[in-house]
Symmetry: C2
Subunit: 255 residues, 2 copies
């Protein structure tokens, strides 16, 4: 209801800690990444496809998209990034960016040097593990997106992303009960789901008529959770909200 809301404690720490138990040295290392957030205006390009990675960021507030573009203008949004996400960490593993990253809203982000990542790996095995877990989780989300793009109908696609976003936000305490701030236009949604804007509009309308969900300027209201889950065949348990196996969570606690 309230638009972007400031987090109390660090969303980054909170969700990495969900995966791996972190000790004081790790927390200190992370804290140093989160200093001096910059404010970036909507539309700012943080990473540009085809160019070298420059800075990396911890996203503190606002939404950002990863996207790829074809020369003739076709655009594919690969994923949304929400507060707590790391932008441009891949810079530690690749020279050249394979996706662009663009601010969808005004954004607060703490820049840091991606060259420090390997250093973190060396000094803090637990952070390395947490980061690997994170990459694996991202991969799982993308695999689900592939399923949507390849085999789901427009109606099912929309149902599925909405549920996915809802859960991702919920895990970070960024959603109200059955509604959340969603600053993506129908056209952005279209580019995420491989549809045309017009068709997204029509489908959204239909879903509202069917009493499943409603979307206004920048909020989503889930009207029939059960219904959406059924339509989308949404299985949350083993992706977004999956608990991390104990053996991994604590395996590195005593080095």
């Amino acid at each position: 209801m309230t638009g972007p809301r400031p987090e109390r404690r660090s969303a980054l720490v909170r969700h990495l800690q969900h995966a791996i138990e972190l000790g004081d040295p790790e927390l200190a290392a992370l804290a140093s990444l989160e200093s001096r957030p910059q404010e970036l205006e909507r539309g700012t390009t943080l990473v540009k496809e085809g160019e070298p990675y420059t800075s990396a960021y911890v996203l503190q507030a606002g939404w950002v998209i990863r996207h790829k573009d074809l020369i003739d203008g076709r655009r594919q949004v690969v994923d949304f990034m929400i507060p707590g996400d790391l932008i441009g960490v891949e810079g530690s593993a690749f020279h050249i960016a394979d996706e662009s990253v663009t601010a969808l809203t005004v954004v607060k982000a703490s820049p840091f040097d991606p060259d420090r990542i390997p250093e973190l790996f060396r000094g803090h095995a637990r952070l390395g593990a947490a980061l690997a877990w994170r990459f694996a989780r991202d991969r799982a989300v993308l695999a689900e997106r592939v399923m949507s793009l390849g085999r789901r109908t427009a109606y099912e696609k929309i149902a599925h992303v909405i549920l996915e976003l809802w859960r991702r936000l919920q895990v970070r305490d960024l959603s109200d009960n059955l509604s959340f701030w969603m600053p993506a236009s129908q056209s952005v949604l279209a580019d995420l789901l491989g549809l045309s804007t017009v068709h997204v509009n029509r489908t959204l309308r239909k879903m509202a008529r069917d009493g499943l969900l409603r979307k206004d300027q920048d909020h989503i209201y889930i009207l029939d959770l059960e219904g959406l889950v059924r339509v989308a065949e949404f299985h949350d348990a083993y992706v977004v909200g999956a608990p991390v196996p104990e053996r991994l969570r604590t395996a590195l606690t005593r080095p």
Copy 2:
């Protein structure tokens, strides 16, 4: 030309070493994963969506697919896995599998206990880094698949996967010059690209007429590499074949 070909040295070691310099202890640890390969017949399910992970494997020979299925039978192939890939490592990070893994051919695979992964992380930071790099690279490949599924035409989709596979195989010495063993039927290809079998067939035909590529029972022959690259807007440099930044490759060499 020759069907599946046995690798001289371990494909797993070869490609992890591409990312991170490994020392003797790491090599020893990996060697222990690659013992006693089992032979599995075509169609064997190694991992089943919705069920707990059991064993993990190092794929030694043959092709395997990761796929997801909807209740009404629609199927999406998420990715191919080729010799040197690790099957079911996610088992260390998740309880329940979100994808099925099925053998597309007769397969040789070395089973190992996924619970050993966290242990590897602790004992060998470099392996942890290599694994993280691997997840990141998988994610990049999937992002490119998302682009294909969302915004490319059938013609472009096929051109793109073929090039992607060609490069992935090449990096592991599994392709001949401009042709490679490709044991996926048109129907599997269709499920990968979000198309119908019929349309894959027609498009493949057209691409052959246009002199771009030819596919027979289980081989792909690239006839016009330049042409394919142009059609697909294929940028290899920053995904499959990307060199790993020196700072990461060697960052952990002296702990």
